[in-house]
């Protein structure tokens, strides 16, 4: 636990007041299941018009955080979503918030046309014509039941419904788990091309970091119930650097306190946080770390 805290080098200001226009503001967000804290005084903020990746190892509290945001679970601490309290104002909140929690959560007995009719009936911000346009691009048939669909088709239907809802916040929890690469690519491509704009915010968790890295505008790492890194992608490139160091400069590199060090083909790859670029360039070739490498370095020792 103490090692984990030491690793939490990235500062997240716990006492910052909610930024006006923040879509999500959480301060001291805590959720306990028995003795274990799934969320442990987590602080974070999400602003409008961003695509935020919430990344963390299994059991870090990702899903609990999303459940709290969606008003599916009780919690301690402060949390406001679009200015509403998810515990008390859930129905009002869900007019503005959509979520796809996991693949294949559509009821198996429902048909495509029943699902569309129902959402059109109960959701004031649903645009049926838009939904039909999305569905027309797929092979889905109006009378087809969910139980007759593949996982990929179920997600297509769910996405067509969700993208036809003019919501301000879309929450995606492992939305492409178990899908083949064609469906995965299509999923994120549709979101970017047909859905996302500056008035919308997307919060996504996934283990397939590489696939969404290029579409994210912001990144949050969560570990042991705490948000240990919250940054936008531009700042990430300025703050973190990966340096390819020859063996003879390795000691000099270590002196600069790298976050992580690994060996590839006899060269050391060092990951630095907040070390001036000029200093690093003397050690070797500097490049932007991938989110996956940063993640692995940050989460070192999580399962140990």
């Amino acid at each position: 636990m103490s090692a984990a805290s030491d690793n939490a080098v990235y500062d997240v200001d716990a006492n910052a007041p909610a930024t006006p226009g923040a879509v999500i503001h959480a301060a001291g967000l805590t959720k306990r299941y028995g003795n274990t804290a799934a969320l442990d005084r987590a602080d974070f903020e999400v602003s409008a018009g961003r695509i935020v990746g919430l990344i963390g190892p299994n059991g870090a509290g990702k899903t609990t955080a999303l459940k709290a945001i969606l008003g599916l679970t009780d919690f301690e601490g402060e949390l406001s979503v679009l200015g509403l309290d998810p515990r008390k104002q859930r129905p009002a909140l869900m007019r503005q918030v959509c979520f796809i929690a996991d693949v294949a959560t559509l009821p198996r007995w429902i048909t495509v046309s029943e699902a569309v009719d129902f959402v059109a009936g109960v959701h004031p911000r649903f645009d049926r014509a838009r939904c039909q346009r999305f569905l027309a691009r797929t092979k889905l048939q109006p009378r087809q039941k969910v139980r007759q669909m593949s996982k990929g088709m179920i997600v297509q239907l769910h996405l067509a419904i969700v993208m036809a809802i003019d919501a301000r916040l879309l929450v995606l929890d492992e939305p492409t788990l178990g899908l083949d690469i064609l469906y995965r690519k299509q999923f994120y491509q549709s979101l970017l091309e047909d859905y996302f704009d500056e008035n919308k915010t997307i919060l996504v968790t996934t283990h397939q970091v590489e696939e969404i890295e290029h579409i994210l505008t912001d990144l949050m790492f969560i570990r042991d119930g705490k948000v240990v890194l919250s940054t936008d992608m531009d700042a990430l490139g300025e703050r973190f650097a990966e340096v390819l160091v020859n063996a003879d400069r390795a000691e000099a590199a270590r002196a600069l306190k790298p976050l992580d060090e690994r060996q590839v083909f006899g060269k050391g790859i060092f990951l630095f946080d907040g070390v001036p670029r000029a200093q690093l360039e003397q050690l070797g070739e500097v490049r932007r770390p991938s989110v996956a490498d940063l993640f692995v370095a940050t989460m070192k020792g999580t399962y140990a």
């Binding site: 459940k67 969606l70 599916l72 679970t73 009780d74 859930r90 129905p91 009002a92 909140l93 869900m94 007019r95 959509c98 979520f99 796809i100 929690a101 996991d102 294949a104 959560t105 559509l106 009821p107 198996r108 007995w109 429902i110 029943e114 129902f118 959402v119 009936g121 109960v122 959701h123 004031p124 769910h158």
Partner: protein, 329 residues
């Protein structure tokens, strides 16, 4: 503004009930339909068997499959109106009785699964992604179980009765008997109206069972049936055991009749009917008088009715709370 919100809440409720219909129409409609169809098929088979046997062994065969044909033929031929009405009432009652039995089982298991099945297959996450209140969701399931399903059952009872009359009329025509008296007797339709009027009374009476089943459906991680059924039975056995020790306990008859029975069996249509003076021995059509308007009025005066309504409302509120806060997915 207020009216707008009310109307949208109403329309949402309409959609929620429609959803229950989509999901459960197989139980609500088709189970009823096929059982009524089976009675008709047996009636037709009975007619054919009767005709064949008559041709082979003579006139004295008593055919009694499905609807009681022999009696109807006798009364229709002898123009004995009183007896004919009884036979027709018995026909209506046959459809009503079988329909009520099917209804009980369908609704019992519907309610046990209503807040459980979608948690099991995780589709609750889809329903919860829509701007719907948990109160509306739970109440839509109550309405589907104790209003929609019974109304369908009463409708099928009438349809089955009319179809049986058509079959019997054709058969009478073959025997050169005028079937018109079958159609002009008003009593069976009166009985049907009383069955219809029973629906809201049975709905009120069923509330403790409805609430009890929904609570377990919303609360448990698995096996809602076992919880719902075993808890009152084990409590009853414990109560009996406490009695054996000589410690104050609930009288067994009261416990099984007014507590366990009400929590598990109040869904049985017409189970609120008080035993008549001869005890609760149902002898078919001749006892039909107990389904009458005074009996319904009497049911609405019983304290058991309204205590049950209160208990049911509390249990349903508990089910709504569980639906809102249960989180294990």
């Amino acid at each position: 503004m207020t009216t707008l919100r009310t109307s949208s809440a109403l329309s949402n409720f309409g959609w929620l009930v429609k959803r229950e219909w989509w999901e459960s129409r197989r139980g609500f409609l088709w189970a009823q339909f096929w059982v009524a169809a089976a009675i008709l098929i047996f009636t037709v088979l009975g007619i054919i068997a009767g005709e064949v046997m008559k041709a082979r062994v003579g006139d004295s065969v008593d055919v009694n499959m499905g609807v009681n044909l022999t009696q109807i033929l006798r009364e229709a031929t002898t123009h004995d109106t009183v007896q004919l009405v009884k036979a027709l009432d018995a026909t209506m009652l046959l459809f009503a009785f079988i329909g009520a039995t099917v209804l009980f089982f369908v609704v019992f298991f519907y309610l046990l699964g209503a807040l459980y099945d979608d948690r099991k297959d995780r589709s609750v996450l889809f329903w919860k992604s829509l701007p719907l209140s948990d109160t509306g969701t739970v109440l839509s399931k109550v309405a589907a179980g104790i209003v929609i399903a019974p109304l369908i059952a009463v409708g099928i009872t009438l349809a089955g009765y009319l179809a049986a009359q058509v079959v019997i009329s054709l058969w009478l025509l073959i025997h050169a008997v005028n079937p018109l008296p079958l159609w002009t007797q008003a009593e069976p339709y009166g009985l049907w109206l009383r069955l219809l009027a029973m629906v809201p009374i049975s709905a009120l009476w069923a509330l403790p069972t409805v609430g009890w089943l929904l609570v377990w459906s919303a609360a448990v991680r698995s096996k809602p049936f076992l919880w719902a059924v075993l808890v009152p039975i084990i409590a009853g056995v414990l109560n009996f055991w406490i009695g054996l020790l000589g410690v104050p306990h609930i009288r067994a008859e009261f416990y099984w009749g007014n507590i366990a029975g009400r929590l598990l069996l109040s869904l049985i249509p017409g189970s609120w009917i008080e035993p008549n003076s001869q005890g609760f021995h149902f002898r078919g059509a001749s006892d039909l008088a107990i389904i009458d308007w005074p009996a319904m009025g009497h049911a609405l005066m019983m304290p058991q009715m309204w205590i049950g309504v209160i208990v049911g409302a509390v249990l349903i509120a508990a089910a709504i709370w569980f639906r809102r806060w249960r989180d294990e997915t």
